[in-house]
């Protein structure tokens, strides 16, 4: 278990992961950015992005994934997502009400830049959900070694 956590899985898994993990991440970003046009949105896209990082962690071991994003980093990104969402809501106060869609008539419906602040809110939720889920995953994995020591 601990050896697998340090070095990762076999060379077949590593090769396939190296080929596909970028595509998974790209699909997650696509789902987030097109959330107001096609099915998907911040929730599903955020979970897909977190799953790409989880795939990297499971295949290559702890050292590679913690070099990209550590547990403290996930906390910072999650808080940034929450603050971005709240800031968008608070800017609406200047135009009248909380959560006012102040950028609304900004493009033809169906294009990527349209629907006002909805794409920005999608990005904020994706940051929050993805970083939160990856942080939970890292925490639950790190707990296993601690428990084995104690037993």
């Amino acid at each position: 278990m601990s050896k697998e956590r340090e070095r990762g899985m076999s060379v077949i898994v590593k090769t396939v992961t190296r080929l596909t993990v970028g595509l998974i991440l790209l699909y997650g970003v696509y789902v987030v950015l097109h959330g107001h046009i096609t099915p998907g949105g911040g929730f599903a896209g955020g979970v897909i992005i977190a799953l790409s990082f989880i795939n990297l962690d499971l295949a290559f071991g702890k050292r590679v994934s913690s070099g990209i994003l550590s547990k403290e980093g996930t906390g910072v990104i999650e808080a940034m997502g929450a603050l971005l969402f709240l800031a968008l809501a608070l800017i609406g106060m200047k135009y009248g009400i909380f959560f006012k869609n102040f950028m609304h008539p900004d493009g033809e419906p169906g294009e990527l830049v349209s629907a006002g602040i909805i794409p920005l809110e999608n990005i904020a939720i994706a940051l929050k959900v993805g970083a939160g889920l990856f942080g939970i995953f890292l925490t639950l994995i790190a707990a296993q070694k601690f428990e084995a020591e104690k037993k």
Binding site: V47, P109, L133, I136, E147
Partner: protein, 118 residues
């Protein structure tokens, strides 16, 4: 009664989850029962929104192809969408509690967790 048949099957699924919560000793089985009951509730909300012969609540790029009158009800979809992600977070929290209880008592049996040990 045939018109309510999907609701009845959904109720059966909910009852299986409740049975697992109330009658199992293993704490992982209880967590699985909570997950199944939660799936049944989400399924019920989406079933209430379904309209026979309706379309998904997304407009087409060329206008006028999908009319708003034939769309299914989008409001329960939005509520279920947030409920699913909350369910994942609470599931992770329950797993963390189970791992911590295993570290303290050395078992997953909830009837033996009342005994105080060190």
């Amino acid at each position: 009664m045939n018109a309510y048949m999907p609701y009845v099957l959904c109720l059966v699924l909910f009852c299986i989850g409740i049975f697992a919560i109330l009658s199992k000793k293993n704490i992982i089985k209880i967590i699985l029962g909570i997950i199944i009951a939660e799936y049944a509730v989400n399924l019920f909300l989406v079933m209430v929104a379904y309209k026979a012969g309706g379309r998904a609540a997304i407009f087409s790029p060329n206008r006028g192809e999908i009319l708003p009158e034939v769309m299914v009800d989008p409001l329960p979809h939005a509520l279920v969408l947030t409920s699913i992600v909350i369910g994942l977070a609470t599931t992770a929290f329950m797993i963390a509690l189970a791992i911590r209880l295993y570290g303290k008592y050395g078992t997953f049996d909830i009837t033996r967790m009342r005994e105080l040990r060190g």
